[in-house]
């Protein structure tokens, strides 16, 4: 019976190994969260959220302008990417037959793989150069380019999941295809499509590279999309490579805020996705 015991031992060994390896990816995440909170929590205060940065050498000051800027950039980017992305997803799911649809689909996948700094350069060429100066708008264009493929493909996948019989139910009532898409398919897929948008948003919120030579950064309050704007990742980048201990402390603080925002979005989109699983069409 030695063989049996040996086999059982091997089985348990493999199981242990698998559990250990499964824990491995979770480890860095918790370590990162732990590190950020340990270093950054001390920087957080009411003023940190609401004030403008102070010049180097002075203590205090906050990242209020960067929080506002990040929210503005996210909204502007969504404003650009959501309508185009959803329409494109509708096209791929409902209308694309043959080669052209395949080309669009591959293009979306390739766009998803383009390094984010390259998208920053593209936005620089498209928006910054013709305008002659940096702006929130150019940053939003770069971020929208990153959101677009995620929204396109998730919208397409969600619409394809909707059973054919639902389309037929609408068409059989004498409703034309476009109205069927708008009035039946989009409402039915709304939760799924929103989840895709949130995932895209969470992806771009923490991006630094596309903003370096587009949104550029701005130490003052700014709500004008045609002017440069601060953003949390830019603040973290700038502060973290500075020589001033106060700034470095604040870089950790800004990281906490940014991480919480992205994490919150991720968890919320997961919550939506679970609801979708609950009453899928």
């Amino acid at each position: 019976m030695r063989g049996l015991r040996w086999r059982k031992f091997k089985d348990r060994l493999a199981l242990g190994l698998i559990i250990a390896l499964a824990l491995l990816p979770a480890l860095p995440l918790f370590h990162i969260l732990y590190g950020i909170f340990r270093e950054g929590l001390s920087a957080l205060s009411w003023k940190f959220f609401t004030c403008l940065p102070k010049p180097p050498g002075e203590t205090g000051g906050g990242v209020g302008n960067a929080i506002v800027g990040t929210v503005m950039l996210s909204l502007l980017a969504s404003f650009l990417a959501v309508p185009i992305g959803i329409l494109c997803g509708i096209y791929l799911s409902e209308y694309a037959r043959g080669k052209f649809g395949e080309v669009v689909r591959v293009a979306a996948d390739v766009l998803q793989g383009v390094p984010s700094i390259v998208l920053g350069i593209v936005a620089y060429l498209w928006v910054v150069k013709p305008m002659g100066h940096f702006s929130a708008l150019s940053g939003a264009v770069a971020l929208a380019l990153m959101m677009l493929p995620v929204i396109v493909r998730s919208t397409e996948e969600i619409l394809k999941l909707i059973p054919e019989t639902l389309r037929e139910a609408s068409l059989a009532l004498g409703v034309n295809y476009w109205r069927t898409v708008i009035k039946v398919l989009l409402p039915t897929g709304l939760v799924g499509i929103s989840t895709g948008v949130l995932v895209a948003l969470a992806r771009i919120m923490g991006e630094t590279a596309p903003l370096l030579f587009t949104a550029f950064g701005n130490p003052f309050w700014n709500l004008n999309p045609l002017q440069p704007v601060e953003a949390l990742p830019l603040t973290v980048f700038k502060y973290a490579i500075s020589p001033y201990p106060e700034w470095i402390r604040q870089a950790w603080g800004a990281s906490v805020i940014l991480t919480l925002m992205v994490l919150g979005l991720n968890l919320f989109s997961r919550f939506l996705a679970r609801r979708l699983g609950g009453n899928a069409p």
Binding site: R97, P163, T165, L166, E168, A169, S170, L171, A172, L173, G174, V175, N176, R179, T180, K183, V184, P187, T188, L190, N279, P281
Partner: protein, 261 residues
Amino acid sequence: MRPKAIVEPREPPIFDIRHLWAYYGEKPAVRDVTLKIPEKKVTAIMGPSGCGKTTFIRCLNRLHELSPGARAEGEIYLRGENILDLDPVLVRRRVGMVFQKPNPFPTMTVYDNVLAGYKLLGIRLPREEADRLVEEALRQAALWEEVKDSLHKRGTYLSGGQQQRLCIARALAVKPEVLLMDEPTSALDPKSTAKIEELVVELKRSVTIVIVTHNIAQAGRVSDYTAFFYLGELVEFGPTSEVFTVPRDPRTEDFLKGKFG
């Protein structure tokens, strides 16, 4: 050349179908069908799986052509107008359909589902007229008593049989001239099936019904006329009482005896 086993209905026809061919790509699924469907009667379309019966009725509301590569040739006269020349959207307003699986709109309430034929087209009805239409359609579909207190719940909360009757109410609410039913009970339990069958018999007073079924007994119970399809061809058509008792074509007889199907 018309096969002998096809009997002209005594009643005036609402559909006059001549030499209908329906294809998927190059493959014909319906072959040269010529048939008159009598008004305000129940006509059952039966036959073994894959005989083209579903394709046939999907031609009658121009739904067939939505499948990729599908097309139909021939003439289908609805009260004298060839529907193959009409705008499919207009045809579908006049010829309603109920599907194999109940398919209420999951985002809509019971009330809105009944009115979907108006709401989806952006037609606004005055409140009283909408209420009246909903009640009338739900009563016609024998669902009113069961749902009158939960009109504003989601349609998908109903049971399968109730959902199917909701779909019938939805089709009736736009006042179609013909109601096509594509195996409407194949996804339902026996009790719900019996209810739908009763309903079909009841409904023929107000609307012409064409019902596809591969359940022979069901065709016998609900229909006035029966068409038997085999391999895409119309083999036999006549009053149900005759087709079931004295079938003229040996293939019909074999099918009724359960030799294939």
